[in-house]
């Protein structure tokens, strides 16, 4: 009946979720990174305007990668969307509040020419860059360890963790990896797009942040190998069965997250990129090869996110208290019909989106020089 088998559709949607997250972290990642660094790389009002103008025209479109990622999780992985958003309730609302600060911060800041007003919005923007970066990393750190939840017979979720349980050492380390990674992305972007003192400061920050990202990523990898338990499905699971997470058995074992790399050695390319590219970005930005540094940083982001996804495959959200009800690719998706229709929608529209995103970036191409922004007025 359907031109694509259920297991293939599930696999493709797992990959697509990863691609959407990477798209978000690369494109909106430089906006978040830039916002995070705003008060530090820009000292005067004109310098801060220069910083904001590197992202102001395009960030809004980039943000849709996150919105679409949320929508795609809702449509393709409803149990994952339901469990993660309600389980991480307070963390999600924290992200939400800071994400709300972004559109209003950008639009409202220049409407009033009073230093206190503008300074407050600059810090609001910095928070709107820092908090989501941190929380998304912390969330991944918790996914890798599993979170405490189970289901009743109606598949109603019972989540037994709290907010402070999310702030465990490994998760905080993951949070810092994410912050360093996006600071590198923002720093290399600013080094590429600006001139003068802003570019100098951004270069210094990016070269340090890249080193930190690579170092913490390795530390996280060691922790996964020797510290926290991974999960594995024991016995067989049908890849085309109904989406009901109650029908399997799961074991926990130290280092289980790394098993996949011994089976498919080529996949080790992902962690390799995740380590080498932030390092390369750090070295390249210090040598003033700004475009290469930005590309390296972007590849590093792709490597780091892919590493998390590939290590956990086929798990999406493991349960630490009831491992057998963990959400996996094979038992937590939408129906075959929904996955198929959504795939068609993505194949139809994502190329168009990429085309006009590229066009919009081309329209705004070229450096933002301090001299150009010193006398320009509010443009929103």
């Amino acid at each position: 009946m359907m031109p694509l088998d259920y297991d293939i559709l599930r696999f493709l949607w797992w990959a697509l979720l990863g691609i959407l997250l990477i798209g978000f972290a690369v494109l909106d990642g430089y906006d978040l990174g830039t916002a995070m660094l705003l008060p530090f790389v820009g000292e005067t009002d004109a310098e801060r305007r220069q910083v904001r103008e590197t992202v102001e025209a395009n960030w809004e479109g980039h943000q849709v990668w996150l919105i679409l990622g949320g929508g795609a999780a809702f449509a393709a992985w409803p149990p994952l969307y339901a469990a993660s958003f309600s389980g991480f309730y307070i963390a999600m609302l924290l992200v939400l509040v800071t994400l709300i600060l972004r559109p209003v911060g950008f639009t409202f800041r220049d409407k009033i020419a009073e230093p206190r007003w503008r300074n407050s919005w600059d810090w609001a923007l910095a928070i709107s860059g820092f908090v989501p970066s941190l929380v998304f990393g912390v969330a991944f750190g918790n996914l890798l360890q599993g979170v405490p939840f189970s289901f009743d017979a109606d598949l109603r979720l019972d989540y037994t963790g709290g907010f402070f349980g999310l702030l465990n050492p490994f998760a905080l380390l993951s949070g810092l990896v994410s912050v360093a990674m996006l600071a590198t992305q923002g720093g290399t972007w600013l080094a590429l797009k600006t001139d003068g003192a802003v570019a100098e400061r951004a270069t210094r920050i990016a070269s340090v942040a890249g080193l930190v990202a690579a170092g913490l990523f390795v530390l996280g990898g060691m922790w996964i190998a020797f510290g926290i338990d991974g999960y594995a499905i024991s016995g067989t699971i049908s890849h085309t069965g109904p989406s009901n997470p109650l029908g399997k058995t799961v074991v926990r074992a130290q280092g289980a997250w790394l098993d996949v790399y011994t089976i498919h050695r080529l996949l080790a390319l992902a962690p390799l990129l995740g380590f080498a590219m932030p390092l390369a970005a750090s070295l390249l930005v210090a040598r003033r090869a700004h475009l290469s540094a930005f590309i390296a940083s972007s590849l590093g982001i792709a490597g780091i996110i892919a590493t998390a996804g590939i290590s956990m495959f086929p798990f999406l959200l493991p349960s630490s208290t009831h491992p057998e009800v963990s959400l996996t690719v094979w038992d937590s998706s939408s129906s075959q019909l929904t996955l198929f229709i959504m795939l068609i929608a993505v194949l139809l529209f994502l190329p168009i989106v990429l085309f006009y995103t590229g066009w919009a970036l081309r329209v705004m191409r070229g450096p933002v020089r301090l001299a150009d922004v010193e006398h320009s007025e509010d443009r929103y």
Binding site: E60, G61, L157, N244, T338, A360, R379
Partner: protein, 508 residues
């Protein structure tokens, strides 16, 4: 067991954040197209005043757009944070239009809105005009997909319950897409947005005319708003009627509640223009009625009845009893999926499964429900009649008022009498009215659907997440404080921009 406190708080939070979001959406819908129209005139005539107008209204649009985007993210998060069981139960269907909205519409408007503001000096005139149109088209397509999602909650077509996954699953994407309720709601909602945009432009321009400020620009803006607004106001009322008609096919209780019609009348039913609905003795006092009108609007016929609340409650009792059979069969099938007898019973009664779920509020074991519990659950099918009765009447009254307002504005513009002061005062005072109408419309549509979150499929209280009451109180208080602060800043900035006025045409 579900904590009723969490249900009430989650509903309050969703209602407040949705109503707040909907303060910004209609203006975005309307103003985005008005900007495109104004800029089109600029590109075609080359007259700079039209560029100055586009930029000025564009600044106000930008402030509003930021708030709309910001508060829209809340909505997407909230299905997951506060309505996790809803997301599990219907995500297979409801998630799809939300995701397509992102892909097809939100990407479009969000990418081009930045270029609208920052691309003036970087693009040719026609290219910039295309950007403005694409922003407006994106905003309107966004409304289409959101209303396809919402239309499914009102009229859940193209889906069926899957025993193995314990949720509703999509069976026909075409049915979801071409849901008549969704189509009618879309046109009604975007037209209401165009009315909002037009009233906004008309009222602010009237303020300038009264003060004698920026008269050239204000006069032209009013002319555009008058023509666009008149067409839109007519369309809102005509298509509002269309959504009334489609609602009678699937949401009979909503119509009966709006009309406070307790008993089924001999067709064609009369329309109650005014009355005092009494929920205690199920009657409406001091009625002023227009004979035949309701029957004509709701059924487009003279002989089909519009069913009253009492009859619908009795039908509810029957459906709950039928639903219990489906629920019992479901319990059997969960244990032994191959049980053919249970499967036959289940298939025969599955369309009433949602009605059995209404019992969960009164008994932990649905299949053991007694007559009293069934009676109470059936009575829960009645929404808040006085609120619906009055919300609908004020909304509809405002709808007709907008037709008169824009007809008058159109006449004044054609007769070159736009500087008539009494007319300008009326136009200025009309400023808050489209927002009131839009919020009332949301209340009729969503509050009128209660006790269902998905009509006939899932009761609202079951949709809630398993989160603690404390967490929801915390988030609710947070939203109220944060959103109130933003509202104050938003209005303050809007007023500042309006007071400053547009730049002179020579400066743009």
């Amino acid at each position: 067991m579900i904590d009723p406190g969490v249900v009430e708080l989650s509903r309050l939070q969703f209602a407040l954040t949705a109503l707040y979001h909907f303060l910004f959406v209609p203006l975005t819908l309307g103003l985005s197209l008005l900007l495109a129209v104004m800029e089109s005139v600029y590109v075609m005539t080359g007259r700079k005043i039209w560029k100055a107008m586009t930029k000025f209204w564009g600044t106000l649009f930008g402030i509003n757009f930021a708030m709309g985007v910001a508060t829209g993210i809340t909505m997407e998060f909230q299905f997951g944070t506060n309505w996790a069981y809803y997301s599990h139960y219907v995500g297979d269907i409801f998630g799809a239009p939300l995701a397509i909205e992102g892909l097809m519409a939100f990407f479009l408007e969000a990418t081009f809105v930045g270029i609208f503001f920052f691309g003036w000096d970087r693009l040719s005139r026609p290219a910039h005009l295309a950007v403005t149109w694409l922003t407006g088209i994106g905003a309107n397509l966004s409304a289409l997909w959101i209303l396809i999602a919402n239309g499914w909650m009102q009229n859940p077509v193209g889906a069926q319950f899957n025993v193995q996954t314990m949720r509703m699953e999509l069976t026909s994407f075409e049915a979801l897409l071409f849901n008549p309720v969704a189509q009618a709601k879309f046109v009604h909602t975007v037209s209401a947005g165009y009315v909002t945009g037009s009233v906004f432009v008309l009222a602010v321009s009237a303020f300038y005319m009264l003060r004698g400020w920026h008269v050239q620009m204000a006069r032209r803006s009013m002319t555009v708003a008058a023509s666009f607004g008149l067409a839109s106001a007519l369309s809102v009322v005509v298509l509002g009627d269309e959504s009334g008609y489609t609602a009678t096919l699937d949401q009979k209780m909503k119509i009966a509640a709006i009309e406070a019609m307790w008993e089924t009348q001999t067709p064609p039913a009369s329309f109650t223009l005014f009355g005092l609905p009494d929920t205690a003795d199920h009657a409406t006092h001091y009625k002023i009625e227009i004979p035949w009108l309701l029957g004509l609007i709701a059924t487009r016929s003279l002989d089909r009845p519009v069913e009253g609340i009492e009859d619908l409650v009795s039908q509810g009792v029957t459906r709950i009893q039928s639903g219990i059979l489906a629920y019992r069969a479901l319990e059997t099938l969960r244990g032994t999926p191959g049980d053919a007898a249970a499967r036959t019973v289940f298939d025969a009664h599955v369309r009433d499964l949602g009605y059995a779920l209404l019992l969960k509020r009164y008994t932990p074991r649905v299949v053991d429900a007694d007559e009293a519990a069934i009676r109470r659950a059936a009575n829960d099918l009645i929404p808040d009649v006085p609120v619906l009765f009055w919300s609908f009447r004020f909304m509809a009254g405002l709808g007709f008022y907008f037709i008169v307002l824009f007809a008058l504005a159109f006449y004044m513009a054609s007769a070159r009498r736009l500087d008539t002061r009494w007319f300008l005062r009326i136009a200025l005072l009309s400023l808050p009215l489209p927002w009131i109408a839009a919020e009332l419309g949301w209340i009729v549509a969503e509050y009128g659907r209660q006790p269902w979150v998905v009509e006939g499929v899932l009761p609202t209280d079951l949709g809630v997440s398993s989160v603690s009451k404390g967490a929801v109180i915390g988030s609710l208080v947070g939203f109220v404080v944060f959103y109130s602060t933003l509202a104050v800043i938003d209005v303050m900035l809007m007023l500042r921009v309006i007071r400053r006025g547009p730049a002179a045409p020579s400066e743009v």
